[in-house]
């Protein structure tokens, strides 16, 4: 009895510990960036509050352009991504293969953003795969054309690279949200009232689903505005996006550049807030217009063709993603791939073994960081969910917003501040610091993917086990965990993939000393031999996919 009480008090601390683990770095880090943005950072001689960092920032050459491309990317990407995702779901609803759609997008979701960007650069560059496939027979090019299709000054390549990842993410979120709605019955009613498939879905289902994918859409807004790794690979470089501008300042040899960089990071945070606020205002307008649109009763308006067009865009993005992943794998085994050959003219698979010594260290660091952060997050999340079940109290929507905090605050806005604190604590550059920084993102994703199946488990299993005399711990270990083994494994695979993909947290918490596959690939992406970059990016993409494969295989073995 005494032991059971002891267990319970430990468990009660779980939510608090969990929130502290992933929110403390964000809050403390934000403060640690805010102060230097106003000139205060004693370690490098900033002792007085002033607006000088902001004046420096505004005076940075190309600042206005940076601001404009940042806003363009941050507004266009979520709008287009949401439109395509909703169109695809409307068009695909009820088609037999749709049941497998979520499995089909898993490889794209598993692949880190930066790896997709690297692959995409291989595909769409003037010397990339698309031009090679069309040359010289269609284009007449014997040498790559001199146009900027990657790193173009307006950031079109950046938007496309983001869409390749964000559209499947939103589709998965919509498919998940559909489970909460009486889709089939409402679709049957709407169609019996004379609405075509796409019109019925857009008017009867989409508004119900939208509320549940709002937070993921806001996460896409924040990510698109503030992403660094993808922008480093395919974004414009001169002037770059605001996030890259801040990143350059934070990594400048001249420490005085930390001040305007902090101001840029804070500005980015404010931009995220402003764009989300504008989005919420647009939602209000859309609600009024949407009601009128629905009440007008048009049975077969533009919805059908629009949904089909969106689905076509989705197919194009999926094709881009697949060819991106394939092209980096091809480069990693090519010995000679001259322009405009469609395929390498000579192969060299053995270069993998020659690169092994260079790849080994970042590979093991990536694996270790991923496994440790996943396990720590798993223990915390299971403790929280178990506590929730025992207290018979479910976390409200406020908690959902808390979980999304790390996904809504730009990474660059708190990671510098967090690094300053780590330096002061003498923890910077350690693997432990990197694991913690990863936990900030691994925890919310693990929680979000595990909470629904965990809460959906029939409580009578646990109750009947308890009535047979099993202790709460035994119920957890012998009943709940085995019953939930599949969602547990999938949640771990998601968490592991999130860890593998982290670029900025690794760079800042690791103080540049901890190299993972992702940091190496991004660093090499600008300029290094495509065969070398291909090897890093391939491994970077393979590792999370292997995680999912292990989860699926293991999950099959448990039943």
């Amino acid at each position: 009895m005494g032991e059971a009480v002891h267990q319970l008090t430990h468990l009660r601390a779980a939510p608090l510990v969990t929130v502290a683990v992933f929110l403390l770095p964000v809050v403390a880090g934000l403060a640690g960036t805010l102060l230097p943005a106003f000139g205060y950072l004693p370690a490098i001689g900033g002792l007085e509050l002033s607006l000088a960092p902001w004046r420096d920032l505004v005076a940075t050459p190309g600042f206005a352009t940076s601001l404009a491309i940042t806003l363009l990317t941050g507004i266009v990407t979520p709008m287009v991504a949401a439109a395509i995702a909703f169109c695809f779901c409307a068009w695909a609803h009820g088609r037999p293969w749709m049941r497998r759609a979520s499995a089909a997008v898993t490889p794209i979701l598993a692949t880190p953003h930066s790896a997709v960007a690297i692959g995409l650069a291989f595909v769409v560059a003037p010397s990339g795969w698309i031009v090679r496939l069309l040359s010289p027979w269609a284009t007449g090019f014997d040498v790559p054309p001199e146009v900027a299709t990657v790193g173009d000054p307006r950031g079109v390549a950046l938007i496309v690279a983001l869409l390749v990842k964000e559209v499947p993410y939103l589709v998965l979120m919509i498919v998940g949200a559909l489970a909460q709605v009486r889709v089939d019955a409402h679709m049957a009613i709407a169609r019996s009232l004379g609405y075509s498939r796409a019109s019925a879905w857009m008017k009867a289902i989409a508004p119900q689903v939208y509320r549940q994918v709002r937070l993921p859409i806001f996460a896409v807004v924040a990510f698109s505005l503030s992403v660094v790794d993808v922008a480093l690979v395919v974004g414009p470089s001169n002037p770059p996006t605001l996030a890259v501008l801040a990143m350059r300042g934070f990594t400048d040899a001249d420490v005085a550049r930390y001040f305007p960089a902090s101001a840029a990071a804070v500005l980015l945070f404010l931009l995220v807030m402003a764009v989300i606020a504008a989005w919420v205002t647009c939602e209000r307008v859309a609600r009024v217009l949407g009601r009128r649109w629905i009440a007008a009763g048009a049975r077969n308006g533009a919805s059908g063709p629009v949904a089909a067009a969106g689905s076509l865009a989705f197919a194009a993005l999926a094709l881009l993603a697949a060819s991106s992943i394939l092209s980096m794998a091809l480069w990693s085994v090519a010995s000679q791939w001259r322009f405009p050959d469609a395929l390498p003219s000579a192969w060299d698979v053995a270069q993998w073994s020659r690169r092994m010594s260079a790849l080994a260290a970042p590979f093991w660091t990536t694996l270790a960081t991923g496994v440790v952060s996943t396990l720590v997050a798993l223990v915390l999340v299971v403790a929280c969910l178990e506590n929730e079940a025992r207290m018979r109290r479910r976390a409200g929507t406020g908690v959902l917003w808390l979980l999304y905090v790390p996904l809504l605050v730009p990474q660059i806005a708190f990671l510098f501040g967090a690094q300053v604190l780590l330096v002061r604590a003498g923890l910077d550059g350690t693997l432990a610091a990197v694991v913690w920084a990863h936990l900030v993102f691994v925890l919310p994703y693990l929680f979000l993917s595990l909470c629904d199946p965990w809460r959906a488990l029939d409580p009578r299993y646990a109750r009947s086990a308890a009535s047979l005399g099993a202790s709460p711990l035994r119920v957890l270990v012998a009943v709940k965990i085995p019953l939930l083994s599949r969602p547990l494994l999938v949640a771990c695979a998601v968490a592991f993939a999130v860890s593998v993909a982290q670029y900025l947290p690794t760079v800042f918490a690791g103080n540049g000393l901890v190299a993972t596959l992702t940091t190496e690939a991004v660093t090499l992406a600008s300029g290094a031999d495509r065969r070398v970059v291909g090897a890093y990016a391939t491994l970077q993409a393979l590792l999370p996919m292997a995680g999912f494969a292990v989860a699926v295989a293991w999950g099959r073995g448990t039943r």
Partner: protein, 212 residues
Amino acid sequence: MTPLVLEGVRITLAGHALVDALSLTVAPGQCVTLMGPSGCGKSTLLAYIAGTLDAAFAASGSVRIGERDLVQVPPEQRRLGILFQDDLLFPHMSVGGNLAFALASHVRSREARAARVDAALAEAGLAGFAARDPATLSGGQRARVALMRTLLSEPAALLLDEPFNKLDAALRGEFRSFVYAHAAERGLPMLLVTHDADDAPPRGRVIALGTG
């Protein structure tokens, strides 16, 4: 109005026949009741008629409204109104919004549409309910809105999938007569599936399903 005709309808699931060689004609304004225990394929038959049958089933046989064959027609062009045991009012629309959604689009102007919606509400004894959230209505009120919604779409026939099931005894009889009166007045053929013999209208034809 024209009759609803089924001819030689057969539905199988994994080789097992749920419905076999079913032929019947429902005259305008008349109700035919298909009785049977749950799982006998009643709702499956209605899904086949409505065109929303799950791909797991194999089905054949003709479904017609008068001379119009429906089998190859997509569900939205069949003009078959359906009532399920849940009212299935759309939670994101007001009561009036649900009705306006159903109202045929040949009623163009916003004023004319609003007038038609108000008239339908008055007919259901719910005048002034247009702006209400469906969640604030009682079960009986919601059921009546669901029927008015179906009728506003100007269907050629009515499919009733145990629509009285979830109502309590007092409301049940009242809503039954409400449905039959409105459908008969419009001359709609009605096909009802139920497992409760009391649901069938007086003097209506009753066919037992799934007994063999």
